[in-house]
């Protein structure tokens, strides 16, 4: 069995109740515009409130501002935030992946500098991986760092960088060596998004929002103390960073709120087709959640469930889109961007951002290849 059965334990269930009570008080329904899963808006004040409850950087060590808790507890908090449509945008990347990779590969000085601020919900990070010629094929990155006195100067272009305009830092995957091997000579640098020589140009997203950016670096100086991990080990580090991205509840909850609102607004008039859609979705959420929780439990045992994470992400994001298509077929709605009905507004947002579900964080085609290579373990 790739996945082992697991349940929430008493303390974890208590945490779930605590998060539900917190959301009902701090963010009552009807008082805010909910987002679609991890695509939800940024809100520094909300992130700070979460941080004060100890719910950011939960799995990071206490001596660096974290809370020495585990992946399962982080799962419990995040699934509640996501299904509520809470504004998690400000801290999302830092909490999910930047914090853990700095904790794993960073120097003591870097940990002291960044982790406490991440855990306070202050610092926001973006991801500097993709380039115009390096999408799924990340090893093709061309952004280059040249050795100079006391550090590196970085030149190149990163693209499709979510939140770069509103974030403080990003981790840049770039070439630091002349090695012919595509996977050698790559390094990760922690780069201040307000550095001299760095230009951020917004790229309007399909839904008209400007969350996407192109980030141009023109001889941006990065001091030695901001090299993450070992020079030349960027590929291995980056692969492990991607593993943190996968398998969590954000991969199957992006279209959850549509269904909750459908039940709230039209529960009495769903008809047989609507009930079938709903029941099918509920069964799948229940099953996917069990798989996802099993991944988190495995991480807490110190293992790296890469295949399981890829299977869950591929299946979960495909479900998000299947569900959206089924909802579009079910309701007779001519969608408008500014409808009075929350269900209709969420539907519009989901239709316009939906294609990204199976692309962001590794396309489904790549995930299938990753998983297929190691299915012998089944």
């Amino acid at each position: 069995m790739l996945f082992e059965v697991t349940d929430l334990e008493e303390g974890e269930l208590a945490l779930q109740r605590e998060v539900r009570e917190f959301l009902a008080v701090e963010l009552p329904r009807g008082t805010f515009q909910p987002g679609l899963g991890m695509g939800a808006p940024r809100d520094r004040v909300f992130s700070a409130k979460l941080a004060s409850r100890g719910w950011i950087g939960m799995a990071l060590p206490g001596r660096h501002g974290g809370h020495d808790r585990g992946a399962v507890e982080r799962f419990v908090v995040n699934e509640e935030l996501l299904r509520w449509g809470a504004p998690v945008g400000h801290h999302w990347v830092a909490d999910r992946q930047t914090g853990p990779v700095i904790n794993r590969f960073g120097t003591e000085e870097q940990k002291q500098r960044f982790l406490p601020a991440i855990c306070r919900g202050e610092l926001s990070f973006a991801i500097g991986m993709s380039e115009p010629e390096a999408g799924s094929d990340l090893a093709a990155v061309r952004t280059r760092a040249a050795r100079v006195d006391g550090g590196w100067t970085v030149t190149g272009t990163k693209v499709w960088t979510s939140g770069a305009h509103a974030s403080d830092w990003f981790i840049v995957l770039c070439r630091t060596g002349d090695d012919e091997d595509r996977h050698e000579g790559l390094s990760q640098l922690i780069v201040d998004l307000r550095s001299e020589g760095l230009t951020i140009r917004p790229i309007p997203f399909l839904d008209g929002h400007s969350e996407f950016n192109e980030v141009s670096l023109e001889e941006v100086f990065v001091p030695d103390e901001l090299v993450l991990g070992a020079v030349g080990q960027g590929w291995a580090q980056n692969t492990s960073e991607l593993a943190y991205e996968r398998g969590g509840p954000e991969r199957w909850l992006s279209t959850y709120l549509l269904v909750e609102e459908l039940v709230r607004e039209r529960g009495d008039a769903l008809g047989d087709r609507g009930l079938l859609l709903l029941g099918d979705a509920v069964a799948r959420w229940w099953g996917l959640r069990r798989l996802s929780l099993s991944v988190a439990r495995t991480i807490d045992r110190g293992e790296a469930p890469a295949v399981q994470s890829a299977l869950v992400k591929e299946m979960g994001t495909r479900f998000e889109q299947d569900l959206l298509a089924a909802l579009q077929e079910l309701v007779d709605v001519e969608p408008v961007m500014d409808a009075d009905s929350l269900f209709e507004r969420l539907l519009v947002a989901a239709v316009l951002t939906g294609p990204s579900f199976t692309i962001r964080g590794g396309t489904n085609e790549i995930l299938r290849s990753v998983a297929a290579k190691r299915l012998g373990a089944l």
Binding site: V263, G274, L278, G279, D280, V282, W286, S369, A371
Partner: protein
């Protein structure tokens, strides 16, 4: 958790006995007396005498080996009557017992789609809310019917035959029946996924294993996903054998029966289209079990009605808490 030694014992016993030839021959004969006797000697025929999780784990192993014996029915009979049943026994699903009537302890009418009705010594059916047990030797006739997997689903006709036992049903047959099918299907899906992955690694076309082709890999991944999803869901439903969990597990299993068999057959090509190769033992059983005790639509509808009744605010709590919430 289930008893590892017990489950592993069943796995070894069935791996030894459920060879391709024996399972194939059982289709012609209606069942395999050899396998049934081996299970009975080792104590596995009295599944209801084990804990629920253990019984379901053994059923999953039976599904892995396409065991052509009424093991699930043995469990259901015991659970319905609240005790053990001697010898071989089958259970009539609620959809098949509508034609039966009980009058002064005498049973009349036709029991339909009775698993292994021609081979078992006794049948248990729900009549007027009572679980009644009767000897099949008292039937006036047995009409042979066969499901998609070549397993007997016979019509057994009684005409005023005396029942051995009649008592209030000790469990919900629809739910427990669905739970047994989910467990069997989890086993069959896992075995089918392993068989297909192995085959794709061995079978060479265009000078390389077909598993090297990305288009084929996609089928293998979708099989692994279905098997993992249903495996975990069925195990969970066994640990929490309550209506929501059972409904969700059987819904997922029945849905996967459609998608996974399609992927497995596509990978196998013409090889999988013959009865000379093992794939059909799993794919045909999955198609048959898919519709027994409620297919994916039946349970989706049940879940849909339940969560609408619970209301929008309880939708996510239901997904996390299941029957504890709704």
């Amino acid at each position: 958790m289930s008893d590892w030694l017990l489950v592993d014992g069943a796995r070894r016993l069935l791996a030894d006995t459920c060879t391709h030839e024996v399972v194939q021959a059982a289709e012609a004969e209606g069942w395999s007396a050899v396998i049934w006797d081996a299970l009975a000697v080792s104590g596995y025929a009295d599944l209801a005498g084990l804990g629920l999780a253990d019984a379901l784990a053994v059923l999953t192993v039976a599904g892995e080996h396409a065991a052509p014996v009424p093991l699930a029915e043995a469990a259901l009979a015991g659970w319905l009557l609240g005790g053990s049943v001697e010898g071989s026994v089958s259970v009539v699903a609620p959809g098949g017992s509508g034609g039966l009537s009980l009058n002064g302890g005498l049973l009349s009418g036709a029991a339909r789609r009775v698993p292994w009705g021609r081979a078992v010594e006794r049948v248990v059916a729900l009549v007027d809310g009572q679980a009644v047990m009767i000897r099949t030797a008292l039937a006036t006739r047995v009409e042979r019917r066969t499901n998609l997997a070549g397993e007997p689903r016979d019509t057994v006709v009684f005409d005023g035959a005396r029942v051995e036992e009649a008592r209030p049903a000790a469990c919900d047959l629809n739910e427990r029946g669905a739970l047994t099918r989910a467990a069997l299907m989890a086993g069959a899906l896992g075995a089918m996924a392993r068989l297909t992955i192995h085959y794709a690694g061995e079978r060479r076309q265009f000078g390389r294993p077909i598993a090297a082709f990305q288009a084929v890999q996609q089928h293998l991944v979708s099989l692994a996903q279905d098997a993992s999803l249903v495996g975990l869901a069925a195990e969970h439903a066994g640990r929490t054998p309550a209506p929501f969990e059972i409904a969700a597990a059987k819904q997922l299993a029945s849905h996967a029966a459609l998608t996974a068999t399609r992927a497995a057959h596509q990978v196998h090509g013409a090889m999988g289209m013959t009865q000379e190769y093992r794939l059909h033992h799993f794919s045909r059983r999955l198609w048959a079990w898919r519709s027994e005790y409620g297919d994916e639509q039946h349970w989706a509808r049940w879940l849909g009605v339940a969560v609408v009744r619970a209301g929008a605010d309880n939708l996510y709590p239901a997904i996390t808490g299941g029957s504890a919430v709704i």
